[in-house]
């Protein structure tokens, strides 16, 4: 399957097809998670007709993997109308929710949407720890009740566990809980900056010692710690670096905010156009910003092209680098992670410019990757 996905991505890349899109339907939410920085007021969300038209445009453009996220998707009264339209267009549908509002009726309707998966945020196996993070009393109980209703109906459920200082010790408990529910488990061990470049929430994140523990826990890695933490094998040869693209952002994937703004990725707040004035396919194909992102190969990265970590131990995120002021620069968070992973000093740690947020950013929602472990 991985091989097939790789082939599909290559074909999509060659043909210029946006294979995957994350669409945030709203930034409104019934929780107030400590690590979430969203402005939860509605500043002009796309209406039902606009979103259905967008879905038609995306199907026409070849989008296959569609993630509907937020905010909390069920805060939209028209959620099922939108999702049913998406189903009729045969997208491979993934939903992200806190599941607090999922009762029997909603679970039945979600089951009828035949989603590929439903990802639910679970911060701890202890109610008081989870609720202290979500800041919604009783949310642990309600989220798990929602998860159970979906699991009972045969919907594939994924527990997404963001690790922070105050819940780090609970991840094995969440893993056990996931196993009990027959759910998959995905962990995100890093907190990333706010989209406006503000790095204050990074204080919530786990430290180097904990990260080292994560990098050495086979239950989280999907490979052996020895292999995962092996010495870096780069830098890549110039001809390989010329070919190598930083990631799928803007190449086969993009992100759309509730206000119709299109970005290369959920974690790459470079505005490329707005759907209220421009068709999706025109933004995708002709936006100068999208095309600039697309033009960059590893060879064009002044610091990272010379870094021994660029051949696999670091999956540098250009979106994080952009938030630090230069999309062609290193991402200090990825430098730190690669250093923690391998213990080998990194080009970017010496050459890294002081983090400066990019100007004119608009708020977009940050979500974890789809991988089992989001180590980027």
């Amino acid at each position: 399957m991985t091989q097939l996905i790789r082939e599909m991505s290559n074909t999509a890349q060659r043909l210029g097809v946006p294979l995957g899109v994350q669409l945030d339907l709203t930034y409104r939410c019934n929780e107030r998670c400590v690590h979430c920085y969203l402005d939860h007021d509605d500043h002009g969300e796309m209406n039902t007709a606009e979103i259905k038209d967008l879905l038609d445009q995306m199907a026409e453009a070849g989008v296959f993997f569609l993630t509907l996220s937020g905010g909390e998707i069920l805060m939209r009264r028209d959620f099922f109308e939108i999702a049913q339209h998406a189903r009729s267009l045969m997208f491979c549908l993934k939903l992200k929710t806190n599941a607090v509002m999922i009762h029997k009726a909603e679970a039945d309707r979600i089951k009828a949407l035949a989603p590929e998966s439903v990802q639910i945020s679970v911060y701890s196996h202890r109610p008081e720890v989870h609720d202290a993070i979500s800041k919604l009393p009783g949310s642990f109980k309600r989220s798990l009740a929602g998860a159970r209703l979906l699991a009972e109906r045969g919907v594939k459920v994924i527990f997404a566990n963001v690790l922070m200082r105050n819940n780090f010790q609970d991840y094995t408990g969440v893993q056990e809980l996931a196993a009990e529910f027959g759910a998959q488990y995905t962990v995100d061990p890093t907190i990333t900056p706010m989209m406006d470049g503000d790095r204050s929430i990074l204080n919530l994140g786990i430290g180097q010692t904990e990260l080292q523990q994560v990098f050495r826990d086979p239950s989280l890695l999907g490979t052996s710690p020895e292999e995962f933490c092996d010495l870096p094998k780069g830098p890549l040869a110039e001809e390989d670096a010329m070919e190598m693209l930083p990631c799928s952002a803007g190449h086969t994937f993009c992100y759309i905010s509730p206000y119709g703004d299109v970005y290369p990725c959920v974690q790459f707040p470079l505005p490329t156009g707005n759907l209220r004035t421009t068709k999706f396919i025109d933004i995708w194909k002709h936006s100068p910003q999208m095309n600039e992102v697309r033009s960059i190969t590893v060879n064009d990265l002044p610091v990272c092209s010379t870094c021994s970590h660029n051949s696999g131990t670091c999956a540098r995120c250009p979106g994080l680098a952009y938030m630090e002021g230069n999309m062609r620069g290193p991402s200090s968070l990825d430098c730190e992670k690669s250093y923690t992973r391998t213990g080998v000093v990194i080009a970017g740690m010496m050459a890294h410019p002081k983090a400066k947020p990019a100007a004119g950013l608009e708020q977009i929602h940050l979500a974890s990757n789809e991988n089992v472990v989001n180590f980027r």
Binding site: M1, M8, V63, F64, M90, A114, E116
Partner: protein, 98 residues
């Protein structure tokens, strides 16, 4: 042999990419890529056209294939796709397929 009717399962995800159909079966999250002939069968699976007619009308018209061999291959393919919940197969027309 009795007439076979085939219909696309509405629960699967599908999109054409570079001439081939990508299909994700919701039942077990398995991803398939159908080649051009399989894609033609999938697209023609309207529940009311017999498989034999699809083979002669679509496959033999569009691709240079022997009708008897094509029908045998198509039946095998259809059985495989049914197993994965991608196609519904019946000996009677499938009326709610549209």
């Amino acid at each position: 042999m009795s007439t076979i009717y085939i219909a696309r399962n509405k629960d699967v995800a599908a999109r054409k990419l570079g001439g081939e159909m990508m299909i994700m079966s919701g039942r077990d999250s398995t991803l398939f890529s159908l080649n051009q002939t399989a894609t033609a069968i999938w697209q023609a699976a309207d529940g009311v056209t017999p498989l034999a007619d699809i083979v002669t009308g679509k496959l033999c018209a569009e691709f240079d294939v022997d009708p008897a061999v094509a029908l045998r291959d198509a039946e095998e393919l259809v059985a495989g796709l049914e197993e994965h919940g991608i196609l519904k197969v019946s000996n009677a027309p499938i009326v709610d397929a549209q």
